[in-house]
Assembly symmetry: C2
Homo-oligomer: 164 residues x 2
DNA sequence: ACGATATAGTTGAAGGCTAAAGTAAAATTG
DNA sequence: CAATTTTACTTTAGCCTTCAACTATATCGT
């Protein structure tokens, strides 16, 4: 704990942004998840995992890389991949070169399910987020959010593209 | 589910912002919570509930209003208030005027604990978020996040200030 | 090459969140 | 004014996440 004098409280403008950022982080995932759960039987996080896999070379990533790309701990990812495996949307494969590693592979069924779910999801994202913003706001927010994300986790989205 | 033709996919710029917003919503709460848990024994959500109470008239809000101010469902809030009550930081009081309603009141101990925790928390927020942003970015992001939040939940932060 | 350490991932238990159902009181409607 | 509906909140059960412990393999230092 710090032992300073008066801390530097947030300015009015910072406070306003902060309250809204907290609101968005609390509420937006739930809203998106409602649509996804209803239409695709997926949680927001599960969808994101499938999406990150679908964009990798060979639709394959090592668990560690997939964890980085989906902003999650390895433990959380492991549990979720187990569930996705039971649904037949993902398959685990051992890596021959490094026998500690496991690759997660998006199955054809998983890809088909993701492809079927994507249009409605994107439409929801557009409705909830981008329809309310100007292109200039999108550009500035991309920059600002990028800085925050880099501060919070310098390793986010910084992984190779294929399997192990 | 929609039955349109090709959906309107995200542009490059939108996609970039989207990935980063998802990253921030997934990771930022966890980072702040690590500090809060260590230094104050509070989850990020619990801290936020106490903070919203501390700013209300008489440090009192009805459960419904507090739920709106803390971006949560009534159910989630009810569970959390039960925990905070066990710690002695919040007290429940029935409302005489409307006997369905319950007021949550921040106790003196709760206020003291919040006051003791606030400086470190604000410093962490500053480090993780505001130190990386220019004032112009803060202003634009406040505006953009406000639009998203209003779309996601028009009722957010739109409640009276005192008890029931 | 050997021991120590780091990396990759899984698992089980504990606790928190969500959704659905339940309770009770107020407001509305015929 | 009685019946219905709405509002306010709590509770239970099930699922998900987190945390800590564990296994196995690879790498590093000497």
């Amino acid at each position: 704990m710090s032992q300073n004098g008066e801390p530097q409280w947030l300015s009015q403008s910072e406070r306003e942004m902060w309250m809204r950022l907290v609101g968005v982080t609390f509420l937006l995932p739930g809203v998106l998840e409602t649509q996804l759960k209803r239409d695709a039987g997926l949680s927001f996080f599960e969808y994101h995992v499938l999406a990150m896999l679908s964009e990798a070379e060979g639709r394959t990533r090592s668990m560690s890389d997939l964890a980085r790309w989906s902003n999650s701990s390895l433990s959380r990812l492991s549990h979720v991949v187990t569930r996705l495996e039971k649904q037949g949307w993902v398959r685990r494969e051992g890596c021959p070169e490094d026998r500690r590693a496991t690759n997660a592979v998006l199955t054809d069924e998983g890809f088909a399910h993701l492809a079927a779910s994507a249009p409605d999801h994107v439409e929801e994202v557009r409705t909830q987020v981008f329809d309310t913003l100007t292109p200039e706001q999108v550009a500035v927010m991309a920059e600002g959010l990028g800085r925050i994300l880099h501060q919070v986790d310098p390793g986010a989205f910084a992984a190779p593209s294929g399997g192990c």
